[in-house]
């Protein structure tokens, strides 16, 4: 057991799966020689060679499409889309194709493939290296969308994703890559897809969050526990789609209040789905409005730091929202 950050944990999970299953391979732009623009795949090409760790042309539809073709011919590809912002050209291959092979062939074919997608706002990233793209994919039956936040979870979940017989979109918030380290087991283990995690028990309100926002939410939750004796239960979905609604509903039925926090521009974000489920299925337990906090409805984070900081929900805004709801 050593401490690792998110980036290292994912890289280690990849390497272990590649060692234990020779059909596992990695493909994407700059994943080989360069080890990925974020260095997640560093060292893999040296160990596994230029086919199992393949630098592809700059063509996202090809990357996703080739991964499909590999997956139906005996391989377990892990494709990398360099930045979430560049996934749109692969949209067709992911939502219309990979997600439907199983259904449309009545179960004859399926696509065991993983697509890693670094997302989220970072300083200097601006409009096209910042987006939270989960809403685009969480209306696609046949696809799984996961977004672990903590290193140990991520390592266990990249393994589950690779072993899953379905296409899995694996979202990694770029700003959390090096944000924290934690103990990550060395032995083989996996963390199941489709299970939420309760980070912190609480009675006053439920917060659902993931990615960078989860870290901020946990911080603020500790702070207002100390300062105001308000106890926030923090739930991390880990898998967004299909969603573990039971864990969320159980929590809300206990606390009576829900605040969903994500970094996506609010309207039409996946937070709406979570809010809608709770407004329907935990209505009788609700002691306050179902609240959401997200980025403003603008195309994405701007380059200039002041505008970026204005875009990403801050600890202050999160604290204000928690207090408002707790005191409702």
């Amino acid at each position: 057991m050593t401490t690792k950050n998110l980036l290292q944990a994912i890289g280690e999970g990849l390497a272990e799966e590649m060692r234990s299953d020779e059909t596992v391979m990695v493909l994407g732009e700059d994943v080989g020689r360069a080890g990925g623009v974020f260095r997640v795949t560093q060292g893999l090409m040296d160990e596994f060679g230029p086919f199992r760790v393949m630098d592809t042309p700059l063509a996202e539809s090809l990357i996703a499409g080739a991964a499909i073709g590999l997956s139906v011919n005996g391989m377990r590809p892990v494709a990398e889309i360099q930045f979430a912002d560049f996934i749109p050209p692969a949209f067709d291959q992911i939502v219309n194709e990979a997600a439907r092979f199983h259904y449309r062939s009545n179960g004859a074919w399926s696509c065991p493939m993983t697509i890693r997608v670094p997302y989220g706002a970072v300083p200097g990233g601006a409009l096209y290296h910042s987006q939270s793209v989960e809403a685009w994919f969480c209306n696609t039956p046949g696809l799984k969308v996961v977004a672990p936040t903590f290193p140990a979870d991520a390592k266990g979940m990249i393994k589950s994703a690779i072993r899953d017989p379905n296409p899995v979109l694996f979202l990694e918030h770029k700003r959390t890559y090096r944000l924290i380290k934690e103990d990550v087991p060395e032995e083989d283990y996996s963390v199941p897809l489709g299970k939420a995690r309760v980070h912190r028990g609480g009675t006053d309100l439920t917060v659902v969050s993931y990615g960078l926002m989860l870290h901020t939410a946990l911080e603020v939750a500790r702070k207002i526990s100390n300062e105001y004796d308000i106890e926030v239960e923090v739930v991390e979905p880990r898998t967004l789609y299909p969603l573990d609604k039971e864990t969320i509903l159980d929590s809300v039925k206990k606390t009576g209040k829900l605040l969903v926090i994500s970094e996506a521009n609010l309207t039409g974000s996946f937070s709406g789905e979570i809010a809608a489920i709770v407004a329907r299925e935990a209505f009788e337990w609700l002691d306050g409005p179902v609240m959401r906090l997200g980025a403003p409805d603008v195309p994405a984070a701007a380059f200039a730091k002041p505008m970026l900081d204005f875009f990403v929900p801050s600890a202050e805004k999160i604290e204000a929202a928690m207090l408002e709801l707790a005191r409702y």
């Binding site: 996703a64 499409g65 050209p89 194709e97 199983h102």
Partner: protein, 334 residues
């Protein structure tokens, strides 16, 4: 007119008379299944028909080079000539046409023509035009990585070359010398859009820009197609990389049963192409080669008619999947 037989001799391409008769029967079967499908459509029994008519030579000539269940195939919606040759049946086609539970492609989920067979390595096809090409390169890469001699066939109409996927796939196939053959069945129209509004320059010539061979072939001459495809598959199996085959042919029906082609093309043009009907041409060749006479022709026709009758009746009687089946098998288990 153009009612000439195949120009390539079968001896020179290494085919025996048995091969030729198998090819002929398959072409005719595809045609007859298709003709019956239109009848079922007019009778209000089949909601939708999309045809192979005119393209049987391009399809059968190519597919005759495949090893069913070994090589991978990404057919498009007109390729019933290919799937029948590989081992799908007339019965299967009608079950699919009518959306019945036993439809081998999708159990009634997909439109007819969206082929699939796990056993035959026919990878489940869909409607979005062109998506098969990147997928085909992936399957080819898997063969190459494992050092196997499998090859991949990916097919589409001429309009399937207009989308980005086709280009991305050809570039990737060229970079890694992948064992994949791209068969473009250029039938002169994409629904109503004629080739000159669809294709700048020429499709087969584009292969050169990717560093691999592109060949143009008379798509109505089954032996010429066979020969071009044989070279392409051999090349792929030798590890030398992809080939692009452009088979020039003609769509003899409307785009589909939902289309009225009188809006956009002249009857004379269609008549002209009827003179080049690939089945009539092949018949002529076989007759001249002494491999087919009136009697054997009738025998084959009769056996096909029986097969088609039996198959369509079976399919008509067959049940639909239960409505609730619609929510099954969204995710794979295990």
């Amino acid at each position: 007119m153009d009612l000439k037989g195949a120009r390539t001799g079968h001896g020179s391409v290494g085919l025996e008379s048995d091969d030729l008769l198998r090819m002929y029967r398959c072409m005719l079967l595809a045609r007859k299944v298709d003709e019956r499908s239109w009848i079922l459509n007019r009778q209000g029994k089949a909601a939708f028909v999309i045809s192979c008519q005119g393209q049987e030579a391009a399809q059968v000539g190519t597919a005759y080079n495949l090893r069913p269940g070994h090589d991978y195939v990404y057919p498009y919606y007109r390729d019933s000539g290919i799937t029948l040759l590989l081992g799908q049946t007339a019965r299967g086609q009608f079950l699919s046409l009518l959306g019945k539970k036993e439809d081998p492609n999708s159990a009634g989920r997909q439109m007819p023509g969206h082929y699939s067979s796990r056993e035959l390595n026919i990878v489940t096809a869909s409607a979005p035009v062109g998506v098969q090409y990147p997928q085909a390169t992936g399957s080819a890469l898997a063969f190459k990585m494992r050092g196997e001699d499998g090859v991949v066939l990916a097919c589409g109409g001429e309009a399937s070359t207009s989308g980005g996927d086709c280009h991305e796939a050809m570039n990737f196939a060229g970079i890694h010398d992948l064992p994949v053959v791209f068969l473009i069945e250029n039938n002169a129209y994409a629904i109503s859009v004629p080739e000159k509004m669809q294709v700048a320059g020429s499709i087969y010539k584009r292969a050169e820009g990717y560093g691999f061979p592109g060949v143009e072939v008379d798509g109505n001459d089954v032996l010429a197609v066979y020969e071009a495809a044989r070279d392409a598959f051999e090349r792929a199996r030798r590890g030398e990389g992809p080939t692009l085959i452009e088979a020039r042919t003609y769509r003899m029906t409307a785009h589909s049963s939902d289309d009225d082609d009188r809006r956009y093309r002249e009857r004379e043009e269609i008549e002209g192409w009827r003179q080049k009907d690939p089945i009539i041409r092949f018949e002529k060749y076989l007759e001249e080669a002494g491999l087919l006479d009136d009697e054997s022709k009738e025998e084959i026709a009769a056996s096909i008619k029986d097969e088609v009758d039996e198959a369509s009746e079976y399919a008509e009687q067959a049940p639909y999947a239960d409505p609730e089946e619609a929510v099954e098998r969204v995710y794979a288990e295990g």
